[in-house]
């Protein structure tokens, strides 16, 4: 379980990227993180991958306070999560097979186990026929599927993807999301940052929208009356208009993503 408790993040230059975020993500959930550019989505991901620590508040994953992890404990924690990036981050000098196997080798796994597991995950992402192809010979969608295979090869409990479809054409984006959602059906928690409202609507999963470093809304709480009563009048007001607003901000997001 991932728990953000009043998490704040101020960068050394004074930017308040996160401004008191409260989120609870259960094991096996599939969550979209959305919001305009600069809302703090990537910052949230960076905290989850332990690249950075909250300036204030508490972030726990399966009961572990990430702020308390020592340098030596971080690698062990990271083996529990699989990360996917917008820019794939495949190693250009290695073929598909080795790119995936690399993730197992560097955590000290051995020979036969690697072969079986790599072929299995390449099968899951539908690239078993491309094992000896190099990344530059693959389409964006295929590269992202390799990256996805690499993210799941060490059997993580959580998959974190920051704009995984950002560099992928629309049809392929749906394929990537389908893959993520089938990975999720196997009990893996999936957290996906995306700009594409189209995908969010198509997949009907929980959506957490950030704005100015705060949770603007969380679809999980739409059915959570306790939370609604606690929240301010303003929030109540805007959740009445939520549907309308969603459509509206969709346009904003499109523009934002073009800026990127």
């Amino acid at each position: 379980m991932i728990v953000f408790k009043n998490v704040k993040k101020t960068y050394p230059n004074g930017t308040d990227a996160l401004n008191g975020v409260d989120i609870k993500i259960d094991d096996g959930e599939f969550v979209f993180i959305t919001g305009p550019s600069g809302a703090g989505k990537s910052t949230m991901i960076r905290l989850l991958t332990c690249e950075d620590v909250p300036s204030e508040g508490k972030l726990t994953v399966d009961g572990t306070n990430l702020k308390r992890l020592s340098r030596r404990q971080i690698p062990k924690y990271r083996r529990k999560i699989g990360v996917v990036f917008q820019d794939f981050r495949l190693i250009p000098t290695l073929n598909v097979y080795d790119n995936v196997a690399f993730a197992m080798r560097v955590v000290g796994r051995g020979g036969r186990e690697i072969k079986e597991r790599v072929m299995a995950v390449l099968g899951i992402v539908g690239l078993e026929h491309k094992v000896s192809v190099f990344p530059e010979q693959l389409s964006g969608g295929e590269q992202q599927r390799v990256a996805l295979a690499r993210a799941i090869v060490n059997s993580p409990a959580i998959i974190i993807a920051d704009e995984p479809t950002g560099n992928v054409d629309p049809e392929m984006s749906i394929e990537i999301m389908k893959l993520l959602s089938s990975i999720n059906r196997n009990g893996i928690t999936v957290v996906v940052v995306t700009h594409e409202q189209r995908l969010v609507r198509a997949f009907k999963k929980r959506e957490i929208r950030l704005r100015y470093g705060k949770v603007e809304f969380d679809t999980a709480h739409d059915h959570d009356h306790d939370h609604k009563e606690k929240s301010s009048d303003k929030k109540d007001h805007h959740s009445d208009k939520e549907d309308h607003k969603k459509k509206h901000s969709h346009k904003e997001d499109k523009e934002d993503s073009e800026h990127d």
Binding site: T49, R72, P75, R78, R105, V106, V107, G108, R150
Partner: protein
């Protein structure tokens, strides 16, 4: 475990070939460093040998009291043997001394035909092993009873010690500077291979590779550079010394130079181990920078 090790060595070898020009530069600079180091050692050994074999600066003669009995003289002999820094102890009775003296006079010996050995004294002659401990050793010798006079060449010994000191300091600084340069060049080489593999390092961090694991290929790279330089130095110094320098020294007829063959293995170990150490040190810093993801 073995799989990981093979993987790490492969990574290291790959980047050595990929940045072969820089590897070559590192090996060259480190070789120069090690050659300097090795030459200094050989130089010192030969200088010491020269002092031992040719010069009599280290020779000390102690003249004994006339009244001593044979037993007492034997006792002094025993005491001299007990002193660590002394070698080649020999006894010269006054008769022998006269004999030697007359021999050294050659044709003029007849002029001294009426001189008897009574004007001379019984003596012990020995050499000091380590001249830098000359004073301490002579202090111990001085404590022996029954000595009437000591002949030593303290000023010469002092001068030799001074010169040794200067050479030692000079060698120390030259070697220190070369070691620093070698480390910098290796650091730079490793930096380039770290830079060219920063994506890999980044991914390694994300999938949970330990810092030690990430560091390892570069560590191995540094060690390989060090070992290559060590081997190169061994052969370079061996061949130039045994085939060129040694014969020259020998031809001058000064003395028989220190043999390299007899200490080939210690030299080999010394070069390879110091090369590997310098390589290791040089490879640590550049990776550290990229580990902070």
């Amino acid at each position: 475990m073995i799989d990981s090790f093979i993987f790490l060595v492969k990574c290291a070898v790959k980047s050595i070939f990929k940045n072969w020009l820089l590897t070559l530069a590192s090996v060259t600079v480190l070789t120069i460093c090690l050659v300097t180091l090795g030459s200094s050692i050989l130089l010192f050994d030969n200088v010491n040998l020269f002092i031992d074999e040719v010069g009599d600066e280290s020779q000390v003669v102690i003249f004994l009291d006339e009244s001593l009995t044979t037993e007492q003289i034997n006792g002094i002999h025993q005491q001299l043997f007990q002193i660590q820094n002394i070698k080649n102890v020999s006894y010269e009775s006054k008769e022998m001394a006269l004999q030697n003296y007359l021999e050294s006079m050659g044709e003029n010996a007849s002029l001294f035909s009426d001189v008897t050995s009574d004007v001379l004294r019984n003596s012990f002659i020995f050499n000091i092993k380590d001249l830098s401990k000359f004073d301490q050793t002579m202090f111990e010798v001085g404590k022996i009873e029954g000595i009437s006079r000591i002949r030593e060449r303290r000023e010469v010994v002092d001068r030799i010690n001074d010169i040794s000191q200067v050479i030692l300091m000079l060698a120390f600084w030259i070697i220190a500077i070369f070691i620093v340069i070698s480390i910098l060049v290796i650091t730079n080489t490793v930096k380039v291979s770290v830079y060219s593999r920063r994506i890999e390092i980044n991914i390694m961090k994300y999938v949970g590779a330990t810092d030690a694991f990430i560091q390892m290929p570069y560590f191995i790279e540094g060690i390989i550079i060090g070992i290559l330089a060590g081997i190169l130095t061994l052969f370079l110094t061996y061949f130039t010394y045994t085939n060129i320098l040694s014969p020259i020294i020998y031809d001058f007829g000064l003395f028989t130079p220190v043999s390299f063959q007899s200490r080939f293995i210690p030299f080999a170990l010394f070069y390879i181990v110091s090369g590997a150490l310098i390589g290791m040190v040089g490879s640590v810093y550049p990776v550290k920078k990229y580990l902070n993801v």
